[in-house]
């Protein structure tokens, strides 16, 4: 699991450790970068990435604050907008020297990928956007699916659930790059995040408005839309598809917001078709 310490030069360990980067598959192949959404961590891709390891250099990471990332690197200002998370994606690309990247982003990470791809279009060859939403809150002439009050309720429900977060868990979750046993601990720390950081990430995610970025994307994109998705409903996925320059829209049979865990086969098949077999 801790490939990066063995495979990367010392100059690249900083970002790789900060974002808990893991690599699989063929080191000399085209990179495929998987980004997880709000809530959990790179484990979300565990039933998806192995299908691509034979043809791609698979790169997985955790956003700062999530999973096995270095939570000490969390910075309220940097991560007050999705731009900070997109900068992290670009930093990972730079340090690992990833070019011609297939970016696969779930939920909010879809928009993080959009921002990264508009910043350095030449670096990305394809974008796979799983359950994307450029804005969660309704606006004039736009249905995002939520009201501001709904989002406040989410923040409250985060508060209630983080009573399950005890400080005893913190050292395990915060972990650090020098601990080989972290891989095992990841399983138990899955979806557990420092409450303050989770609340900040929730705010950044659900109050974001990146509709204007969509029109600037030149990278060929795939929009994967689930049925009955409470977070990114179909009209939102259609909106993303229409605003993007060159995109393919796929309506999945899978329901909910997380086809990467609930319907990995269908997710894999759709991505494969988009990437050309």
């Amino acid at each position: 699991m801790r490939l990066h310490t063995a495979t990367l030069g010392s100059s690249t360990v900083v970002v790789a450790a900060r974002n808990n980067v893991h690599e699989h598959g063929r080191a000399d192949a085209q990179p495929m970068l998987f980004a997880h959404g709000f809530g959990c961590d790179q484990t979300m891709w565990r039933d998806v990435w192995p299908a691509f390891a034979d043809r791609y250099r698979v790169v997985l990471f955790d956003h700062v604050g999530a999973g096995g990332s270095d939570t000490g690197a969390f910075d309220r200002d940097r991560y007050a907008s999705l731009r900070g998370y997109a900068d992290d994606v670009l930093e990972i690309c730079h340090e690992l020297e990833l070019a011609d990247v297939v970016f696969v982003g779930h939920s909010v990470a879809a928009m993080i990928g959009v921002i990264a791809a508009t910043t350095e279009p030449e670096r990305f060859s394809r974008l796979v956007l799983v359950g994307p939403s450029p804005r969660y809150i309704d606006d004039e002439g736009y249905v995002g699916g939520f009201t501001r009050e709904d989002i406040d309720e989410l923040l409250e429900s985060l508060d209630s659930n983080y009573l399950g977060w005890s400080s005893a868990m913190a050292p395990v979750i915060m972990g650090n790059a020098d601990r080989p046993q972290l891989a095992e601990e990841l399983e138990t720390s899955f979806c557990r995040t420092d409450p303050e950081i989770a609340s900040h990430f929730a705010r950044t995610t659900f109050l974001s408005d990146n509709r204007d970025d969509l029109g600037r994307v030149t990278t060929p994109s795939l929009v994967l839309q689930c049925a009955q998705d409470a977070i990114a409903p179909e009209p939102v996925g259609r909106y993303v598809h229409e605003r993007l320059g060159a995109s393919t829209f796929v309506q999945m049979r899978a329901t909910g917001h997380c086809p990467n865990v609930s319907a990995p086969e269908e997710t894999i098949a759709a991505i494969r078709t988009f990437l050309g077999g």
């Binding site: 565990r46 910075d75 309720e153 989410l154 429900s157 979806c191 950081i197 009955q228 977070i231």
Partner: protein, 376 residues
């Protein structure tokens, strides 16, 4: 009559229907396929309205639905079970019921994970208490922050040929407030002033109150003690007698405007940094002694050093957050500070303070940073 026989008439059906918790089975997409009487009663919805027609997440608040999709579903899929998820169920009449739910994937006869069993517990009283706890915790944080800010506020000394500016930036990442403080005050109005930066061990309300005590103590002791070393020695006595501020680090710099003289003393604190119009920045390595109130014998010895201040001198005192990075040695941090300080010698103090705070913060592991700059 055996103990088992007492309830022999109670069927498994009744145990399910009348259980003191809501009990339901859903498909993995949340569609309710079976539900008990308790759940019907709690929600005000009968099973014709629930079974086949409603997904469990449809009964949640909008915020709860997001939590359900982003946490509950992934956890259930990856771990096969989730425990103690706090949600609110919206009843038929629109009122809300705080609940805790536990769910487990329930394999069918062929071992496929097609269904989920969920128990639902009424958590109304618990939620009220938890909210009180959260409020209390936030109040603590607010008090500590307010306390710290009130102590860091106040007018800075100003005089012809003297400009003082300060900067303070708390650590991010939701930690409790730190124990860094700064102070600048006249010893003799218009003639000499003291610049102080200190760093109390620990965080939170305790650190903030200790910081307040020590800051006030130095102000009071400065009225009677002559010079930085004497002030620190008196502060030691105070700290020891009142059992506060063990291992606090402090720098006291005394500037005599007329005589253009600087006297300074560092109790375990990073050295002041001085730049003059014709020289590169240099750290003032003299006047060093142990931190305040350390449990060893030689704290009584407080040293100070002095140097003259040519016109156009600029002095910086600061806390270690400015030079410490986890991935570097202190020397590297100090070299970076000296370089940034020297490169910006033409900027006015206020601009210098804000650019140093931004440039030199350890973004990987942010700590409190406070700094004080004086142009003489």
């Amino acid at each position: 009559v055996t103990i088992e026989a007492e309830f022999v008439a109670e069927t498994a059906e009744e145990l399910f229907e009348g259980a003191p918790c809501g009990y339901l089975t859903t498909r993995t997409d949340g569609t309710i396929v079976r539900v008990n009487r308790t759940f019907e009663r709690w929600t005000g919805l009968d099973r014709r309205q629930l079974v086949g027609a409603t997904r469990f997440q449809d009964l949640l608040t909008a915020g709860g639905r997001i939590y359900h999709e982003t946490h509950y579903v992934p956890l259930l899929r990856v771990q096969g079970a989730v425990r103690e998820i706090a949600l609110e169920i919206v009843r038929a009449d629109g009122s809300r019921m705080p609940v805790l739910i536990n769910s487990e994937m329930h394999p069918d006869a062929r071992g496929r994970r097609t269904h989920v069993r969920t128990t639902v517990f009424d958590a109304s009283d618990r939620r009220r208490y938890e909210q009180e706890l959260l409020r209390a915790r936030r109040r603590d944080q607010d008090i500590a922050q307010e306390l710290q800010q009130s102590m860091l506020a106040g007018d800075l000394p100003i005089a012809p040929g003297l400009t003082v500016d300060v900067g303070y930036r708390p650590a991010d990442s939701g930690l409790a407030i730190g124990g860094d403080w700064y102070d600048a005050f006249w010893l003799t109005p218009g003639v000499s002033l003291a610049l102080v930066v200190g760093d109390v061990v620990g965080r939170g309300l305790g650190a903030a109150t200790t910081m307040g005590q020590l800051r006030s103590a130095i102000r009071a002791l400065a009225l009677t003690q002559r010079g930085p070393a004497a002030m620190l020695a008196a502060l030691d006595t105070y700290a020891e007698r009142h059992d506060v501020g063990q291992m606090t680090t402090v720098v006291v710099a005394q500037i005599d405007i007329e005589a253009r003289e600087l006297r300074y003393a560092c109790a375990g604190h990073p050295p002041p940094l001085l730049v003059t119009p014709r020289e590169s920045p240099r750290f003032l390595g003299g006047g060093r002694s142990m931190p305040i109130n350390v449990p060893v014998d030689d704290t009584g010895i407080r040293r100070e050093a002095s140097c003259s201040l040519t016109a156009g001198s600029r002095l910086l005192v600061y806390s270690d957050g400015l030079i410490e990075r986890r991935s570097e040695t202190i020397d590297e941090g100090m070299a970076r500070l000296a370089a940034a300080f020297g490169a910006r010698r033409d900027e006015p103090p206020a601009a210098l303070v804000s650019s140093l705070l931004h440039e030199l913060r350890d973004t990987e592991h942010p700590d409190d940073v406070c700094l004080l700059v004086a142009d003489v």
